[in-house]
């Protein structure tokens, strides 16, 4: 069924890569990792092409380094926007030599684009929040008339959510809440115990009607069951079962230290590099080419993709490699750029762009924050609150009924993430109370710091954005990157649905601080436009190649296959037709698995 090289595969160079593969996967993050995993475990010969450098979390992760060992006490800088120890390599809001532009000088109309240039992409640093979209989230237009329905429903994706959860390991609970799906028995790992501030927020949240439940995060709170899971994920495939069982035993459970954003040397959390790629490499079916920037997907005379053209970043030279199928998993916007730059006689406006919709409907997550100091949490006894290296609890959206009844003034919901606790001190000064604005110093300052340490809480709202005509990207008519490849130009606009939602977030958080016995030192901002995070800041960009039921109104069909070129699929968040408040990564992986299954079927049938 599959052809291509038979030798044991691994990391290749332009000169050692084969001429042709069954599938080329562009990108190595959540989408590329999952697609490559599924394809190689089922026997396809795959070349993964990554623009960044090789990266090995087992040897490169700063697991116990303290902030005083880092420059600037590990403060965030433009070089490392999430702090020195954040796992992101070669990226951030700027990637040297790889610019992007914004059409508007007005900051509120600009988009910020976060990229990584490393194997595993942004999965190395992500928050590991692994929430399922609910049934409403696939049919939002049917519910409130806005945006687009997906051509698939929750039921289509649910089996893949189950599989991804079992593969990567997700902690959490089933709470039976509206549009917040439960997982079948055997999918979830036990949640970590709540921290003291999380317990207080839970109790006081109830007073203002906000539920608090365990969040779902891709962190192993105990080892995965290497006996029961592999047969469920790879029925009838003993080789895949054996490889996965072996690999699962090489992943340790969390040892309750080190923030997940640094990555994880013991492989206790999900990164493409620690979960997807090791078993995929063990199949012998995967070649990985790093430092290779794909520039174009060329087509043959009958309009089929022949493979990819890439630039070897080390030498600047251009190379071609062939494949029966090309999977674009470069991240929503990078995939758009690649498609729009793949112009040909058959596709003069870019590959897959007969609808003119490639690049349209870029969405991010709505974000707004609020902090408070809680006297009840002062003078806490010594105890370790590191926990699972991230959140233990959160609040799923709780006002579906009020919203549907039109009582809120904005159409979609948000969830609440909040941080409390006695985290590792760094470049931010510990809180002290400057009574009357007088800067406290001298004897007593230390006592103040000790007293208030761990008594602060920070809320972040994470809400759904409705796709709109003013938020999109296109090829900049002038600007090019250091290899001369045209770059993206962004257009951005939040609608009132988003800005009102952001204002609602702050009001809710201010009420919550009061309910916890804290005092708000200022009033929440009534104008959400002033507090909403800039577009792209939450790093949840999706859309740009949205899926749909009609070729004229979407870029891909319900299998994430481009309408125009049948052997090109989009596996990343580009296909999202809406961007629920739920963090997109789990859904990206579920869809990538589903797409890979479809590709395998189509290859077996000889359709691609």
């Amino acid at each position: 069924m599959f052809r291509g090289p038979d030798t044991l595969m691994a990391f290749v160079t332009p000169s050692t890569a084969a001429e042709s593969y069954d599938v080329i996967v562009v990108g190595s993050g959540a989408a590329g990792g999952q697609a490559a995993y599924t394809l190689t475990m089922e026997g396809a010969k795959v070349l993964m092409v990554e623009a960044g450098r090789n990266y090995d979390p087992r040897t490169e992760t700063p697991m116990f380094q303290t902030n005083n060992m880092a420059p600037l006490r590990a403060a965030a800088t433009p070089d490392k926007p999430y702090g020195y120890y954040d796992a992101t390599v070669g990226g951030g809001w700027d990637v040297p030599g790889e610019p992007y532009t914004n059409a508007s000088d007005d900051e509120s109309r600009q988009f910020m684009w976060y990229r990584a240039r490393m194997l595993g992409g942004r999965t190395n640093h992500w928050a590991r929040h692994a929430l399922r979209n609910g049934p409403y989230d696939f049919k939002p237009k049917s519910r409130d008339g806005l945006g687009f329905d997906w051509p698939i429903s929750y039921e289509d994706v649910a089996p893949y959510y189950d599989k991804v959860e079992m593969l990567i390991g997700v902690y959490g609970t089933n709470d039976g809440l509206e549009n917040t799906p439960d997982s079948p028995e055997g999918c979830l790992l036990p949640p970590p115990k709540a921290r003291i501030g999380e317990l207080l927020a839970r109790q006081r949240g109830r007073r203002i009607g906000v539920p608090v439940i365990p969040i779902r995060r891709a962190v192993l709170t105990r080892p995965l069951n290497h006996r029961s899971i592999p047969p469920k994920l790879h029925p009838g495939n003993p080789k895949a079962q054996r490889i996965l069982a072996e690999d699962m035993q090489n992943r340790a459970a969390c040892f309750w230290a080190t923030s997940c954003g640094r990555g994880c040397a013991i492989r206790a959390n999900y990164q493409s590099t620690t979960v997807h790629l090791p078993p995929a490499l063990a199949t012998g079916n995967l070649d990985i080419l790093v430092g290779a920037m794909v520039r174009e997907v060329p087509l043959d005379a009958v309009g089929r993709a022949t493979g990819v053209v890439y630039i070897d970043k080390a030498t600047g030279s251009e190379h071609r490699v062939g494949a029966r199928v090309v999977v674009l998993a470069a991240s929503a916007c990078e995939t758009v750029r690649l498609m729009l730059n793949s112009k040909s006689g058959r596709c003069p406006n870019g590959l897959g762009n007969s609808s003119g919709l490639v690049g349209k409907y870029i969405m991010d997550t709505v974000g707004a924050g609020w902090g408070g100091q809680i006297p009840l949490l002062e003078d806490l006894p010594l105890h370790n609150e590191d926990g699972a290296g991230g959140l233990h609890v959160y609040s799923p959206w709780w006002l579906y009924k009020e919203q549907l009844a039109g009582k809120l003034g904005f159409a979609r919901g948000y969830h609440v993430e909040f941080g409390t606790g006695r985290g590792m001190p760094g470049a931010n000064a510990p809180y002290v109370h400057d009574e009357g604005g007088r800067t406290r110093f001298g004897p007593g300052l230390k006592e103040d710091a000790r007293r208030y340490y761990g008594s602060q809480i920070f809320f972040s709202g994470r809400g759904e954005m409705i796709p709109n005509e003013d938020s999109y990207c296109e090829i900049d008519p002038k600007a090019v990157d250091k290899w001369g490849v045209p770059v993206l130009r962004f257009h951005w606009k939040w609608s009132e649905h988003e800005t009102r939602q952001a204002a609602h977030m702050q009001r809710t958080f201010a009420d919550w601080v009061e309910a916890m016995g804290g005092v708000n030192r200022r009033k929440p901002e009534g104008d959400g436009g002033k507090v909403i995070e800039p577009g792209g800041k939450v790093i949840h960009e999706v859309g740009g190649t949205i899926m749909g039921a009609e070729a004229s109104k979407s870029v891909t069909n319900s299998w994430s296959q481009t309408w125009d070129v049948r052997n090109v699929y989009v596996a990343d968040g580009g296909v999202f037709a809406s961007n629920a408040d739920k963090n997109p990564t789990l859904t990206i992986m579920a869809l990538a698995w589903r797409t890979a299954d479809r590709i395998l079927d189509e290859m077996r049938r000889g359709n691609v």
Binding site: R53, T66, T173, L199, T439, K446
Partner: protein, 225 residues
């Protein structure tokens, strides 16, 4: 998005030095037309470029490894003295300078990044003001002034000063300097221990908060998993 690590910085650095000198001279009201801390002749502002986008995260770093430091010996002594006024020794932990907080502040104001460049202006101006005041009033550098004299200067800077008032900038400087001192102190191993951070150690289980704390705060009913 422009690359903040290059381009605008050399200019910004020149600007901040010029401003610092101008302001220092104004602040000293003609009493001293010299620059005892050597701030005007100091290093030509923050170095271009930082640690880049792919530094070695496993290597322990020391101030000065990535970019040259700024403070002259005199400035360093003043900074250490100021740090120690803000965080003196007590029965639980040592003073700020004994943990090298002044070197952290030097590293901070010398860093080639926008936030630090902004702080550089505030801190260098403020140090110049403090030193000039000390020399004018007490006839010696701040680090050589008596404890009472140093305290009186800090006491002047501590209150929130109205916008446009003479003390507005010294007050803003003092707040920023205090916060850098706090961060620098409590992020050292000794400072973390003093503050009560007991994490960063591998554990077989995560037990959650102590039961008596949960009970004291009336949260026993919330522990449902």
């Amino acid at each position: 998005m422009s690359d903040p690590g290059s381009g605008s910085h050399p200019l910004a650095a020149r600007m901040d030095r010029r401003l610092a000198i101008k302001w220092m001279l104004a602040a000293s009201a003609g009493a001293l037309l010299v620059d005892p801390l050597g701030l005007s002749a100091a290093a030509p502002g923050p170095a271009p470029g930082g640690y880049g986008k792919d530094p070695d995260l496993l290597k322990e770093h020391k101030p000065g490894d990535y970019w040259p430091l700024t403070f002259s010996e005199g400035a360093r002594r003043d900074v250490a003295a100021l740090c120690n006024l803000i965080i003196p020794m007590d029965d639980r932990s040592p003073s700020a300078s004994s943990l090298g907080v002044h070197d952290f502040i030097d590293e901070w104001v010398s860093a080639p990044y926008p936030a630090q460049a902004k702080d550089r202006t505030i801190i260098l101006e403020g140090l110049a003001w403090v030193d000039a005041q000390s020399r004018r009033r007490f006839g010696v550098a701040f680090s050589d002034a008596s404890p009472e004299e140093r305290l009186s200067l800090c006491g002047e800077m501590a209150p929130e000063a109205p916008a446009g008032s003479e003390l507005e900038r010294p007050s803003r400087f003092f707040r920023r300097f205090r916060n850098l001192t706090l961060a620098g102190f409590f992020s050292t191993p000794v400072g973390m221990k003093d503050l009560g951070y007991v994490g960063n150690v591998p554990l077989p289980r995560f037990e959650g908060p102590p039961a008596d704390l949960v009970e004291r705060l009336g949260l026993t009913g919330e522990v449902t998993w």
